[in-house]
Symmetry: C2
Subunit: 428 residues, 2 copies
Amino acid sequence: MSEPLRLGVAGLGTVGVGVVKIIQQKANLLAERSGRPIEITAVSARSRDKDRGVPLDAYGWEDDPAALARRDDIDVFVELVGGDDGPAKQAIEAALAAGKDVVTANKALLAHHGQRLAELAEDAGHVIRFEAAVAGGIPVIKALTEGLAGNDVERVLGVMNGTCNYILTRMENAGLSYEDAFAEADGLGYLEADPTLDVGGIDAGHKLALLAAIAFGTQPDFDAVELEGIGSITIEDIRQAADMGYRIKLLGVAQLTGRGLEQRMSPCLVPAISPLGQLEGGTNMVVLEGDHAGQIVLRGAGAGQGPTASAVMSDVIDIARGTRLSTFGQPARGLRKARPARAAVPAPYYLRMELVDKPGALAKIAAQLGEAGISIDRMRQYGHEATTAPVLIVTHRTTRAALDEAIRGFETTGVLASTPVAIRIEEV
Amino acid sequence: MSEPLRLGVAGLGTVGVGVVKIIQQKANLLAERSGRPIEITAVSARSRDKDRGVPLDAYGWEDDPAALARRDDIDVFVELVGGDDGPAKQAIEAALAAGKDVVTANKALLAHHGQRLAELAEDAGHVIRFEAAVAGGIPVIKALTEGLAGNDVERVLGVMNGTCNYILTRMENAGLSYEDAFAEADGLGYLEADPTLDVGGIDAGHKLALLAAIAFGTQPDFDAVELEGIGSITIEDIRQAADMGYRIKLLGVAQLTGRGLEQRMSPCLVPAISPLGQLEGGTNMVVLEGDHAGQIVLRGAGAGQGPTASAVMSDVIDIARGTRLSTFGQPARGLRKARPARAAVPAPYYLRMELVDKPGALAKIAAQLGEAGISIDRMRQYGHEATTAPVLIVTHRTTRAALDEAIRGFETTGVLASTPVAIRIEEV
């Protein structure tokens, strides 16, 4: 049996304690599988006295995560502090400078600073691993970086924020309004302290930027992710979508097109019978499409102590086994800077609007679509008692630019009684 | 850039040609991701003159795969010959003896001889990788061996033979008899030369034995897999199951129980709304249940040139990157010999039988169940015109032994007009 692999664990929140538990509970199993013991040398957190339900006396203590990162008696710095800057970033930089490998669950940090950190790691001859940063317990970083390494990746998509999927599922299944479903999720503790991270698509956007970098060999570029949250989704849209065989999901899609790299995190309609459409509650799903492997679907818990700690441990065990991979699957300095493409890939769209209840109103809307070169797949005008008429249109495949042109045209007709809602239908 | 990794590819059937294509098409991508070029030095197949649609002139040729395995100018022997003994086995032994790493897609060989080959590899300090042997393009070996390495695995289950799932799906969706669906699959070229490998569950059983070895740290033991094929499934069972919210799948389940290792490959009912229940056609799905990660579901193409070659390349790229893993995820000589347990885990069962149409017939059957300690969840007697009455029973959780006792009891009642069909309901 070789020398033990010695960890410094910074951050003793839910995930950090989960990692401590696994290491304490499974010493033999981990040693068998890794070929060497895995030990915690020292830990760091904000408060030393807090009872975290696990014994920590055997470990050294550092108030400052960067001091932990620099300790001579650790081999791997496990960063579970969080935050896209500040202490987490400083500590990782300190770890790399001190010759340590790094395991982190920090999607925000890597989405913003991943390129620079990957270059630092490369120069230092050390690795940064981040399985826990994307989709919790699902080994999706591994599947993409290693499992699909022989493929040109055509598209990566997925539901990567369980809280949003919970809210949308509750709206659909229990008929709750967005506000009520949001309040319910909040009451269950599902929301981040700043809920726009969840419902604004930011958290999921971070994950998408990391997947895109690996999939396409490009520098992670969170600023180029087109973000749209779920706050404007109404129960009416969910019902109408369901009626036509669709479900609404906060869907991340990354795709390399002739016009550049498209990264979108936005509500989309997906077929109710597709695996993505069938995904309910807080579960995550990532779909990887390779030119040889075809479509690989991965589903599992996207958050929580056990799943996230399991992902951290997978990275730690890889390092213990001697596996050395570039942060994003190829040398950091070889990653291309992708040109961002916005909505470059055409798609069908779902359109909902209220029209004034006058003869010819619908024809005027249809004419505007025709002028923008958009053909109609399905159109419905619903029965109503008010003075305005609800209208639903599903278009054939079109670009977002043509659709926006048509919507501007709608406004000139004088028949529009509400701002049209337009939601992309992602073909999966 | 480091030295190229030099492959010898034995077997130029569908998968072998797929591997050649990827290496020829993606030289730059593979080199970027691997950190070194990946090259084919020489190949081997039965007929040298056959046109396989890919240029082979640049490669050396060996008629004998073992001679290829021993060549000084290869680093990795890629075995795509197939067969659970004979040339494939001899060639892998020759490769290990000659100091080569091995990549294979050969589930039958590893299910039968995996323990010995893993020990040979370990002694020689070389690796055997076999991602392509299980579930085609789905990186399930990697997910289990590496992604879930920090978990005690609680259960592994899945649909791992696309042909059987195709037949069952066609029976359900098109109302075909087993014979007609079988003939259709045969006409499409989906069946192995010996179709019992597919419909008898043998091929899927090989895969299950490999997954079980990794999941539980036990020696692969195909002979202990309880095998039951799909040949006895009738359209009537499929319809009745559907009516109660279930689908019938050829399901592999491996589970370590207090009584030993249970490995079953048999038709089971699964909830129609579960991911396994929703799986249609030739697709594969594997479900991994870890004590920390929870339930991870992986879905994708289980066969075909692209997916299988993608899996082979994932192993090749791992080797090129310097990743070194024990064959079954831990040292071969540390794998325990598991005691086989048969049907140790209780489950609800679906029972279908014909009873003679006499007053009290159903009560007699119910009494026998009661005597065997089995309680009834649901029972239905269907309308009929014949002199026998079709009866359906869903039991609460029970052991297979108790169920068999009850069925023997049925035979003493004199009311049985057909042999009862009993199908396990797997809780997923």
